[in-house]
Structure formats: C-alpha cells, structure tokens
Amino acid sequence: MGAQGKLVLILRRLSQAVPALIGIIIVTFLLTHALPGDPAAYFAGPAATPDTIAEIRHNLGLDRSLPVQFMVYVENLARGDFGQSISTGQSVGHELVTRLPASLELTLLALFISTAIAVPLGILAATRPDSWIDHLCRFIVTAGVSLPTFFTGLALVYVFYYLLGWAPAPLGRLDVFFIPPPQITGFYLIDSLLAGDLETFWASLKQLILPALTLAIFSLAPIARMTRASMLAVLSSDFVRTARASGLSAYTVIITYAFRNAMLPVITTLGMVFSFLLGANVLVEKVFAWPGIGSYAVEALLASDFAPVQSFVLTMAVMYVALNLLIDVLYGVVDPRVRLDA
C-alpha cells in the first residue's frame, strides 16, 4: 500500500465521521434546549419583570419554534459562527480559540510527563516481576487512581507554592507581569519560543508545571498498568523466546522485539487517557484558575448558556474523531497486519 493509498483511506475514514458529527450537532442542540432553566430569566437577572424577560427572550430568538432555532443554529455554524455567550457577551468562537489551546497545552504536557514516566516504569516492572520497581509501579498505580486530582492539585500548590515558594501563584497561564506571546498556535510555550521570548517561555512553563503534574500523576496509573500488563504478555510469547535463544542483546529483546509489539494496547490507552483528560480536567482548571475549555463549559452549563455548551460538545466530538483517526494511523505504522480499511 503506497502513501497515496493511505491518504485515500484516511480521507475515507474522515468522511465516515460526518454522519456522527451531524448526529452530535442534533443531539447537543436538543439536549441543551431540554435542560431545565431559562437563559432569558438568567440573563435578565433576579430583579427583572416578566416583560423584560419576554423581551430578552425575543431578542435571543428563544421564542421561536425549536426547528426554526435549529435552522438558525446550523446556518450560523456553517458560516463558522458559534454564537454568543449570553453570560460573558463574548463570541464563543473567540473563546474557543483562546481556551482550547490552553486546555490542550496543559493536557499534552501532562500526557507527555506521565508517558515519559509510566512507560519505562511499566517496562521495568514487567521485566523484573516482584522486584522493588514492580512494587513501586503497583504503589504508584494504586495511589494515582485513588487520589482525586483536586486533592493532588491542592497538595502540590500547598507544598511548592505556599511552603517552598518554588512555584508561582496558581493564577492561570501567565503571571500578570507578562504579556502573552502573539498567538500563532495558542500554545504559550511554542508561541513564546517562536517569538524568541525566553522569559515568557520560562514564565509560562512555571505556571504549567504544577497543573500538568497534577494531571500526570492521575494519568500515570492507567498507562503504567497497561504497559506492564502488555509487556508481560509479550515477554512470554514465542517470538521473544526465539529472540533470546538467538542471543540478541537484552535491549534488542526488550525494546525492539517486545515493546514494539506491546505498544498497541498502550497507544489505545493513551488515546483514552487523552480524551478523558481533555474533558475532565475541569477540577484542575478550577484549582489553578486555568482558562481552559472545561471550566468554560461548566460555567456556561450552570448559567443555562446554550451556545458555549453546544460548541464545547461539538469541539470535543471533533477532537475524538481526529484522535481516533490518529490512533488508527499509528496502529498501521506499528503493526503491518493492521490495515486502515479493516
């Protein structure tokens, strides 16, 4: 299969996602409109008269029938207009463009840290069963699962900010004295480097490190556990025995032969952990005043603010589709037996 064939298959995969996205648009629209709470009443405030509320409802277009509202929503979406948040008055599109990179940067760094720790840990634990490193792995897995993120987050803030003073105050992506770098990718780390501004790079890295660690500690567990289990299974397989019998070096046997074969379930787990972190790091975002999309969506939901919630769900759906496609492509890279069209 040539590169062109692969491209065609990827495009076909993408087109298969279209019905799913249409379904998601319909369902989120219906769900948000079925939610209890009246956005007009919320927007008008507690002192508003019924007349004012009715007027606001009319201005927001909420007095029209559901199908008409849906058509308006879809029309706007097609133009790239995600609507306006009624609680902040900001355009949702603009909020997403600034907030999604904030969440992504945090999540990706967290995932990078936890993978860099969990995968070697899992491999070591699998190659030395019942050694101290195996017990350490088991301890970390148990601890990581049982500690809620808001607790680890607060504990880290307490120790590294309050007690030791090593970390900056947990107040968002950048200290108030710094100006955010010009937005190119939306990732402060990358944008500041692109702008050649090392000071801002360090400042944003310092802000990132504690929330990223918090998420990393939480996501260590599934990755380490899956790596260990998958390695144990592969290490007892026939072809690893062959590799050992051929006198290949321990490194070749464990990394080139065993780990590459053990990678498929680890990649799947990484994908699951990533999508889970992206949607579920609301608590961490709250603890560190991180301007991400998780906290944005929760605030909007509490305020019966439709547009941000719909856009959040839609964004997540698109990310899931992209992520699954990426995982499928990675599968094909790792394992020649996997075919994209299967």
Partner: protein, 340 residues
C-alpha cells in the same frame, strides 16, 4: 569417541515453582552429542524434552530453576556461565529452532531484518552489509525470490516458509550445535519431510551437531544416529538408533516401539502405553518414575535408580531391563493379546 563431545549434559535437574508445589521437571539427565552427530530426544508430551533444551539454552521460564548438573559446550559450562558469557554463546555456538514457526517469529518485523539482527549481533557481518547477507541466508534455506521475501512479514508467509526463516535465523551465525524442538509440528506432512531434509543437509554442510526433539519415535529413527528416550524428566534409555530399535532394554522404550505404527504389522497390533505420566509435584515420587506403569516392576525398583551400561554405548536406567536379543517380541505379543 576420543574427541570431546560437542555438548555433554550431566546430572541436569530442573525444578519449577508453581502454586501446586514444586514440579521436579528434570532429574539427573545425562547425555552427550558428538561433533557432527544427530541425536534425538524422544518422549511423551511432558517428559521434559523441551525443558532440557530450554535449560541448556538458558531460556527457562522465570519460575524454573536449574537445581543441579552441568552442560559443557566447548569447555564452557552453560549452566554456571555468567549471563554475559551465555549471551555470547547463545545464537553463536548453540542455536535453536522451535515448533509453531508462525508464532516463533516477530510478527511486526520483516524476516530479513530478523535474520539481520542475529547477523549483526554475532558480529559476522557489518551492519551495512547485513540486509544483503540476510537475503543470502534466505537463499541458502531454499526460499525462492529471497530479496523480495526478505521484505515480507511472517503473516505473509506459509508455515513451511516461516520454518525456513527460523532455520535461517538459527544458522545465521553458523553454530556448532543446533537444537530442533519439534521443528515440524504444525506443518503439513509434505512440508515436514522437506524441512527435516533441509535441517539434515545444512547440519552436514556445516558439520553441526543436532539435537532433534520429537515425540515421534519413527521420525527420530529415520533422522538420528542415537536416541535418548525420556520419561517424566528421566532419561530411561540412551542407545544408538539401530541398537535401540533392535534391542530395546527399558520396558518403556519397548512399549514406545510397540506403540509406533511402523513396527506393528497392522493397526490391531498397535499398543497404547497403559497409565500416564506421574504427577511431578508429588513429594513421594518413586525413584523410578515409570515403576507405577511398569509391567516388570520388582521390589528392588524402590531403590535409587541405576544407570546400567549394557554393551559399548547403551545406557538404561532400570533394575530389571528386558533381556537382550529379541526383547521386543514378548511385549508385542502381550500387546496383541490385549488388543484381541
């Protein structure tokens, strides 16, 4: 037999720790292979043939422990060698091919690279020339269009082809001893003969000693000059092939021969061996692990197992071996009576 043997195994004992207790998988196993000679290890499933090979290769399961003995190859005792010494010998001096070649190859690495890995590891070939050398190895094991096949993955090949690749991997470093563990299991019958011929031819060409592990006594008879019969982790008889078939001295060997289709005139005469292997976790295992199935058991059989040397080169672990001469006949007639 003045020259040192290619491999001399003495007193090899192996234990496995399991939840059900300690399994004494091998107990005091002795045999040797001369340079260029092909011997066969024969026995039922679970008799310890493969464990013997794994112990020699140093690839026992972590639960397994070598509790005694030595296996001397070229002056080095493999069982007491350091991991680094062993790593030098494995694949270079002593190599192994396995049953089920399809699962014994790395599924996500091209066969050419798997051969090249061994070539590079054992230093015969510089890294840059390894791919071409791997293609040559594929050609030498009779794979047609080797340069194209080198880029194939095991799942794109037939079982017989995979076993040829396996052989190419094993012989890449031109070892002095090859252990072939049921190399034809899982292959269809026509391929089996071809693979066995290939192993024999290459062994002759390289002057390599071969230990051929099989449960098929007839196949062992065709392919080896000496047969070592194993039962429940013991070597019960060790004799030149012709001698063993003509004058089996251990009751178990005689039963095995009677149970082999070639020697019986018809299927009616085919005997099955009564009883099964004893549970090796038992703490009250008798000294002779065959005694509980044995029709010739005597009181003396509860004494420690003897290793009687009968004739020049014929060892039997039995207190009451069958008499010499046409020893197999009474056993065959017994089998006939029971079948009738």
């Amino acid at each position: 037999m003045t020259a040192a043997p290619a491999l001399a195994v003495e007193g090899l004992s192996v234990e496995f720790r399991t939840r059900g207790g300690i399994v004494r998988a091998l107990d005091n196993v002795n045999f040797s292979v001369d340079k260029g000679e092909t011997i066969a290890l024969v026995g039922e499933s679970g008799s310890g043939k493969s464990v013997t090979a794994y112990a020699i290769m140093g690839i026992l399961d972590p639960a397994g422990r070598i509790s005694g003995g030595s296996a001397v190859l070229g002056g080095l005792d493999l069982l007491s060698a350091s991991p680094s010494q062993l790593a030098e010998v494995r694949g270079r001096e002593i190599a192994m091919i396995f049953q089920n070649p399809r699962t014994a190859l790395n599924p996500i690495r091209t066969v050419g690279r798997q051969i090249a890995d061994v070539l590079i590891r054992h230093g015969n070939v510089p890294r840059r020339e390894a791919p071409a050398a791997a293609v040559e190895m594929l050609r030498s094991v009779g794979i047609t269009d080797p340069s194209r096949r080198a880029k194939a993955y095991p799942f794109e090949m037939s079982g017989g082809m995979c076993q040829r690749v396996m052989i190419a991997i094993a012989l890449a470093a031109k070892p002095s001893l090859l252990i072939a563990d049921e190399p034809t299991t899982g292959l269809d019958v026509t391929t089996q003969a071809v693979i066995m011929d290939l192993v024999n031819d290459l062994a002759k060409e390289l002057g390599m000693a071969t230990i051929f592990i099989t449960h098929d006594l007839a196949l062992a008879g065709q392919r080896s000059s000496r047969i070592v019969v194993m039962h429940a982790g013991h070597v019960v008889e060790n004799a030149p092939t012709d001698e063993l078939f003509a004058h089996p001295r251990h009751p178990y060997t005689a039963e095995l021969i009677a149970a082999t289709p070639d020697s019986a005139a018809s299927l009616d005469e085919l005997a099955s061996i009564p009883g099964s292997l004893p549970d090796l976790r038992r703490t009250d295992l008798p000294p002779c692990r065959y005694s509980e199935r044995c029709p010739r058991k005597l009181d003396i059989c509860s004494q420690p197992l003897p290793h009687q040397t009968l004739g020049a080169d014929h060892v039997v672990a039995c207190w009451n071996p069958l008499p010499d001469a046409s020893a197999a006949k009474p056993m065959l007639s017994v089998a006939t009576e029971s079948a009738a």
